[in-house]
Structures are given as structure tokens and as C-alpha cells.
Amino acid sequence: MPLPDDIDLSELIACPSCDALYRAVEPGNGERAVCERCHHVLIAPVDGAIVRVVALSLTVLLLLVTAMFVPFLKIEASGLTHSTSVADAALSFSAAHMFGLALGVLALIIFIPIARALLLLFALLPLLARRPPLQGARTAFRLSEELRPWSMAEIFVLGVGVALVKVADMARVELQAAFWLFAALVVVTVLQDGFLCRWSIWQALEGRERQSPAADAEAEPEHV
């Protein structure tokens, strides 16, 4: 079933989950365009999404970098105390000769969330300044989306909660600054994923980039 020849492929959207093809029409603010066949959400624009995603990425960066340098948890039992940082938690595996796992955990809770925030900032900051995206912005955005499932700060926070219950009757645990920073990070990450409409950002990343050749084309007649 070939499509008409004059169709502009950039107006189409194919559902990544089931391949159904549509002509994309942007729904209103806060509305969602859902694939009829598999109910996958295709477009969910939110006004000012780019500003919010950039702001939240900066927040993530600030929270994580701070969390790395402030105390995390302190345990007290029968006169003995021991305090630990977020990095200590990940590196506890290296004490048991599981260096790979230590690095992996460090990546899942700190490095990947930081990398995602940096990639998003790199891709989206120029759009905020109404400039064309930087070279590689689109690759950066794709990578940040690919990293999304591997960014596990929120799972880490729940893990800390479970660990606290486990030691509750053995010792007293004091929650310190880094714990609260991580708790805030969960909220920020959830908000960020809610604002992030991939389709709108791809349109923005493509549209603004396309403007420069168009501007060249407009300039050409002057040459001639």
C-alpha cells in the first residue's frame, strides 16, 4: 500500500512499539496522543517543557555532585559509631573483591544520572538560548534516552530504606545530608520524565537545525 508521492515523511510518526503509521498532529498542552492499536503514548507536549527539563537537569547535577561530598549515613550502637558516604556504599563491594560490581553500582547511582543530566543540558541548552543545536546534540539526546533505564538513583533510595529497616533493631542510624539529597533526586527525576516528550524535543532539535539551511536558501537570492 504505497503512500501518495507528495507526502512529506517528516509529518509522519510511526509508533516505536507497533509500527503503526500516523500523520502527527501536535495535541494541546497537557494532552496526549496515543497509538490506537497498542496504546503507546506517542506525543505528550507540556508548555515550556524544554525550560523545565533543563532546570531539572541542572538540579539533578547539583544534587548528585553535592551528595558525593557530604555525609550519607551514620550508625551508632553500644558506643561505637561509623559513618559512610554514598561512594562508600558502592565501593563496599570492592572490599569483598568485587571490583566490577563496585564500579557498576557507582555508575548506576551516580555516573549515569550525571551523564544523563549533562547530555540533556548539552542537547537542550542551545535551544533555550534560541540558537541552533550544537553538533552532536541529537546523538546526545538519543544517548540520554538510552541511558534512562540504567539511571537507578530512585531504586537506590528505596534500597537505603530497606537497609535502614534491616538494621533498625540492631543500631541507631542517623540520616545525613546526602540521604535527603538523594530523596529529593527521586522527586526531580520523576518530574523530569513527566515533562520530557520525546517527539516534541526531536521536533525542536530537528526544526531549529533545519532553519539554518533554510536561512541560507533565503540568503541565496541576494547573491544572484
Binding site: 500500500m1 503503526a20 501536535e26 496515543v34 561509623h82 559512610t84 563491594f93 534500597g159
Partner: protein, 240 residues
């Protein structure tokens, strides 16, 4: 409320239209090998090797998951006496101390979710390989759930990390991660990769047989009357 416009009265897929869709950015392009000019991801109309990757990671996950249950996850040294706790053992100890909700969270995240995930991914892959006529929308939901929930299994690894970093009270009590922590983490990563390798478009393909398997635009002029009845017939199938 949906503001997508169908291109034709029966649903048409990118493949049927002779196009190939990018699963990363949802843009469509004319068929041909290569990568998406917009986002740079590899473009494949249907990833034929997808199922072999799903099964490869599935087996890796299963092989790692077995020792993860047999070996201790935590080694607790209390006054120079060391004892190991497996995943299930640790949850039982928690439940005996009265922390039943937390024991349930651990059992759910470390036993129920991984086992359910192995079953779900195997079912999805087999259903596609053997063209099982089960409800497609339900299979799609199942796949989305597997993708969404799978990463939460990592919680037990983080619990072990925090406990062994925190509980270091000189000779009185200390906790060390056990060998199961490593194999468990590998099992979670392998099952996540297995689920992500699955091309969910395959679930919908039996509705819409490929007019021409060769990725060749020359085959585009398929008669327009042909696909419509086939599609209508197939759609009756999915309604029970």
C-alpha cells in the same frame, strides 16, 4: 482526544507503506540499510536477530540467577561468628523480626519479579516465534510492564551495598557482601538486556504480513485492495 491522523481507513504500518521507522525517535524514512539521519540509531524495519539476542540474554540471566539464590547475599560477622544469608533466608529473618512489609518488598523484588520476568520474556518470544493467537494488546501491556518493573530488582544489590558499607562496627558486628550479590546483579542486567532486545513490533506483525520480506523499494506497488480484507479478517481475530 487522540490527535493522530490515520493515513488510511484500515491501520497501516510503516513497513506496509514501504517505509522504515526509527524506534528511537519515531521518524520514518524510505527503506534502505543504514542509520536514522535524525538521531543516528540503526534503522531496521524488523530486527530479525532480535529474538536470538532475547534468548541469549535470557539464558545468561537464568544461569546467573541460579547461583544468586544458592549462595549468600550477605555475610554477617557477629562477635567473630560469621553467618551467610541467602536472598530468601534474609527475607525470612526479616519477617521473623516482625518487618513483614519489608520482607515482602525483598521477596517481591528479588524472587517474584525476576521469576515472573523470565516467564514473561520467554512467553513473549515464544508467542512471536510460533504465532500464538493470544491477545496482542495484552501481550503489549505485559511487555511494557516487564520493561518498567525489571530494573527494580536491582534494589537488593543496593541493600547489600548500603548494609555492608554502614554496618562496620569494629569487631562487634560487620556485614560483607556475599558472592550472590555479583551473580544477582548480573542476572538483573542480563534480563533487562533480554527484554530490551525484544522488538515489540513483532507482536503485531501477524496482523499485517510483510508484503515483501526483501528490503527493496521496487516491491512497493502491491495492489491496494489486497491488504485491506486481510487486515479486516485479522482484526476479527483479536476480539474474543
Amino acid at each position: 482526544m487522540s490527535s493522530l491522523e490515520n493515513l488510511s481507513a484500515p491501520m497501516i504500518t510503516a513497513r506496509k507503506a514501504g517505509l522504515v521507522a526509527c524506534t528511537h525517535c519515531a521518524r520514518v524514512w524510505p527503506r534502505g540499510p543504514g542509520s536514522c539521519p535524525r538521531c543516528g540509531a540503526a534503522l531496521v524495519s524488523r530486527d530479525r536477530r532480535s529474538l536470538s539476542r532475547v534468548w541469549a540474554w535470557w539464558w545468561v540471566g537464568l544461569i546467573c540467577y541460579i547461583p544468586a539464590n544458592l549462595f549468600p547475599m550477605l555475610e554477617t560477622t557477629l562477635l567473630s561468628k560469621t553467618s551467610g544469608d541467602t536472598i530468601v533466608g534474609g527475607a525470612v529473618v526479616l519477617a521473623m523480626h516482625g518487618a513483614i512489609p519489608v520482607a515482602l518488598v525483598i521477596l517481591l523484588a528479588s524472587v517474584c519479579i525476576p521469576v515472573a520476568k523470565f516467564i514473561a520474556v520467554a512467553y513473549l518470544a515464544l508467542s512471536v516465534q510460533h504465532n500464538w493467537p493470544s491477545d496482542r494488546l495484552r501481550r503489549m501491556r505485559l511487555y511494557e510492564m516487564v520493561e518498567f518493573i525489571g530494573r527494580w530488582s536491582m534494589i537488593d544489590v543496593f541493600v547489600v551495598a548500603v548494609l555492608s558499607a554502614l554496618v562496620q562496627l569494629s569487631i562487634v558486628v560487620s556485614i560483607k557482601p556475599g558472592p550472590a550479590a555479583l551473580t544477582f546483579a548480573l542476572a538483573v542486567v542480563a534480563t533487562m538486556l533480554s527484554a530490551r532486545s525484544f522488538d515489540s513490533r513483532l507482536i503485531w506483525d501477524s496482523l499485517d504480513p510483510d508484503p515483501d520480506p526483501a528490503p527493496d523499494t521496487a516491491s512497493l506497488p502491491v495492489s491496494t485492495n489486497d491488504p485491506a480484507p486481510a487486515l479486516a479478517g485479522a482484526q476479527k481475530d483479536i476480539r474474543p
